[in-house]
């Protein structure tokens, strides 16, 4: 097989991930192209790119989700490859197909693989055929309530109702008894239909004490598949990840080996090429099940990079060029411990609702072992148009204990004003007993984050003193402006020093 060197890459994404990809492109002496929506023109990733093309419009669907506009920008720029990042069109098989049809390399798996793995029902069927455990549930999408109730009864409550095309918690409902089934089915269906244009639903067993464990894999065009170990992503709110770490304390070396083999097997089962992630759910009984495969670069990939020393984007590009993976599974090793905290604009005390606004002060933590993947700067808007992520903060240290302390320090050093952020929640996680002990599940938030029991109003004396100093300076300002009005006809003076000198 011949390799084809990539010269110029259009990044079909925005924000931190666009910037992160472009940084690697620069290191590889590959030119980068941004394609941006009108609201993003002043974002750092647009000016970081060697070239930038406007996708006229503001809404995601008329910009970052518009296949035609993106491919024509790629053609106009002469890009020979497109990197889709995560989200948006990254797992859209039609996009991959049309990219390939335009003679442009899609940095990711083939369109057919994306299609297969994007359909959760289809994906489980294929993977189960290779002897990889899957969660007991429907193999086909359910169509009516009667059928759903029969199946749920067979599996046993609690069950999960999930959208076939879903992801990130959208179109998902937990049903603890039959009486809730109908409203949950309807809710999941309408959410899935509006978010993905596909309302098909399936039902599966709900696992107790579940942990979300995923394996990063790399696969090349020559049939080599390796994994880069696991990431533990059980700390979630609204069914979306917010804190991730690697290694996971839940995996014994033996279990890690078995799950790693399953991950590689899942990739082989669908003829996977490029970087991908195989997600598993691990029950408190030690049984694990294939959940889904994410056919793209994952948000939380930095912690794998920190512990393996690899640049996953660089690996993706080399694989897309047709190069073979040079590492054997045995030669891939991991060192130390890494944790990532996602910094979102959210009100953590108010149900984690997204917040919007302009970032006023923004100061990122720095120092040994700290990595910040950010796509914003002071003055940037966190708008309603896109995901409210501000940055990803990752730390590395030689032990888990040290990494936790480093994360607490880094979160404390992080200064963001203008929007509410997930920083207080992330600090809470790092200091909590369940996280420290490693004994936590995806129910962490529900079991530990009790906003009603907290007293966020309590302030230390030092904090009150600071507030008083600010108040005093404000009042002194008001006095100055309201009690010293300039009198009519008063001689204008520019400076006291000049007055003294010339009026003598």
């Amino acid at each position: 097989m011949t390799t084809r060197k990539i010269q110029k890459v259009l990044v079909a994404n925005r924000g931190e991930i666009a910037l992160r990809i472009m940084r690697t492109l620069k290191e590889m002496h590959i030119r980068s192209v941004a394609a941006y929506s009108e609201v993003d023109i002043s974002m750092p990733f647009v000016r970081y790119a060697d070239e930038a093309y406007s996708l006229t419009g503001k809404e995601a669907r008329e910009t970052y989700l518009d296949i035609g506009k993106i491919i024509s920008a790629a053609k106009k720029s002469g890009a020979d490859a497109i990197h889709p990042g995560y989200g948006f069109l990254s797992e859209n098989s039609q996009f991959a197909r049309e990219t390939e049809r335009a003679g442009i390399i899609f940095i990711g798996p083939g369109a057919e693989t994306i299609r297969l793995m994007g359909d959760k029902t289809e994906a489980r069927k294929i993977v189960a055929g290779y002897g990889i455990p899957v969660v007991p549930g429907t193999a086909e999408a359910v169509t009516d309530l009667k059928e759903a109730a029969d199946i749920a009864g067979q599996i046993g409550y609690p069950v999960l109702v999930k959208a076939a095309a879903g992801g990130g918690g959208k179109g998902m409902r937990l049903v603890t008894e039959e009486s809730e089934l109908e409203s949950s089915l309807r809710g999941a269906q309408s959410e899935a239909a509006s978010a993905f244009g596909d309302g098909r639903i399936f039902i599966e067993k709900y696992i107790l004490g579940p942990r979300h464990i995923e394996f990063q894999i790399l696969a090349d065009l020559h049939g080599n598949v390796v994994h880069l170990f696991e990431r533990e992503c059980s700390i979630q709110r609204r069914h979306q990840k917010v804190v991730e770490e690697t290694p996971s304390l839940a995996l014994s070396p033996a279990l890690r080996q078995v799950m790693g083999r399953s991950a590689v097997g899942a990739a082989r089962a669908c003829g996977y090429v490029n970087a991908g992630t195989v997600e598993f759910i691990l029950g408190d009984d030690g049984n694990y099940y294939f959940l889904e495969m994410n056919t793209r670069l994952q948000v939380e990939h930095p912690i794998t990079e920190l512990t393996t020393g690899l640049d996953i984007v660089r690996e993706q590009i080399r694989i897309a060029e047709g190069e073979a993976i040079s590492m054997s599974q045995e030669s891939i090793t991991r060192r130390g411990h890494a944790i990532e905290c996602r910094i979102y604009a959210e009100d953590v005390y108010g149900n984690f609702l997204p917040d919007t606004g302009t970032l006023k002060t923004l100061r990122e933590p720095a120092g040994n072992g700290i990595r910040v993947d950010s796509g914003v700067e002071a003055g940037s808007d966190i708008s309603v148009y896109y995901d409210p992520m501000i940055a990803k903060l990752s730390v590395w240290d030689n032990t888990r204990e040290n990494a936790i302390e480093k994360m607490i320090r880094a979160l404390d050093d992080y200064v963001i004003t203008g929007v509410k952020t997930t920083i207080p929640f992330c600090t809470f996680v790092m200091k909590s007993a369940p996280f420290r002990s490693g004994k936590y599940s995806t129910h962490f938030v529900q079991e530990n984050w009790k906003v009603d029991d907290m007293d966020p109003s309590s302030l230390s004396q030092e904090a009150l003193d600071r507030a008083l100093v600010v108040a005093a300076t404000q009042l002194l300002d008001r006095d100055r402006s309201s009690f010293q009005p300039r009198k009519e006809g008063e001689k204008r003076s520019h400076s006291g020093w000049m007055d003294g000198r010339f009026e003598r």
Partner: protein, 162 residues
């Protein structure tokens, strides 16, 4: 005496010249540098940075890395009775505002309905997510000001409670 309200607490203080007194104790401080949203202050044996911004009628302060709203009340404000009238904090209980711009997907209450603390009032879809807006305390719905399918702005009053 001027006062601040912060974290549900009101603290009165005295200013003499540039000195601050709280309960007869002088709060020693020295402003080293002052910028638009930042004060560098020598307090006791350390130099502190205080990050804040003026927003609306109050000040937003970053204390122990958490944003806090503070209201600064001068003698004049107190004479005008802003403390007695309750200020924005008390109004918040009687009006439910949209926490973000979005689409009203479902309204779950009607006018006159009694609702328990934490009851679902409305489902607002924003950023591709369905967000449940709930009550903060036991109350009664006075009026629903929006309808299903309506697009609301951030801070738009959507429900009045009594």
């Amino acid at each position: 005496m001027p006062a601040i309200t912060i974290g549900g607490k009101t603290v009165s203080f005295k200013i003499e010249g540039r000195k601050i007194f709280v309960d007869g104790r002088e709060l020693k401080y020295e402003v080293i540098r002052r910028e638009k949203d930042r004060l560098l202050v020598k307090m006791g044996d350390s130099v502190e940075e205080i990050i804040y911004s003026e927003s609306g009628e109050g000040v937003e302060l970053l204390l122990s890395n958490e944003a806090r709203r503070m209201e600064v009340l001068s003698d004049r404000d107190i004479l005008l009775g802003r403390l007695e009238s309750g200020g924005p904090a008390r109004h918040a209980h009687s009006e439910i505002k949209a926490p973000m711009p979005g689409l009203v997907v479902k309204i779950m209450v009607t006018g006159g309905e009694k609702v328990k603390k934490g009851a679902k009032l409305i489902i607002l879809e924003a950023m591709k997510m369905e967000n449940e807006i709930r009550t903060a305390s036991d109350s009664e719905v006075a009026e629903v000001l929006v309808h299903e399918g309506e697009i609301v702005e951030k801070d738009q009053t959507i429900i009045k409670l009594r």
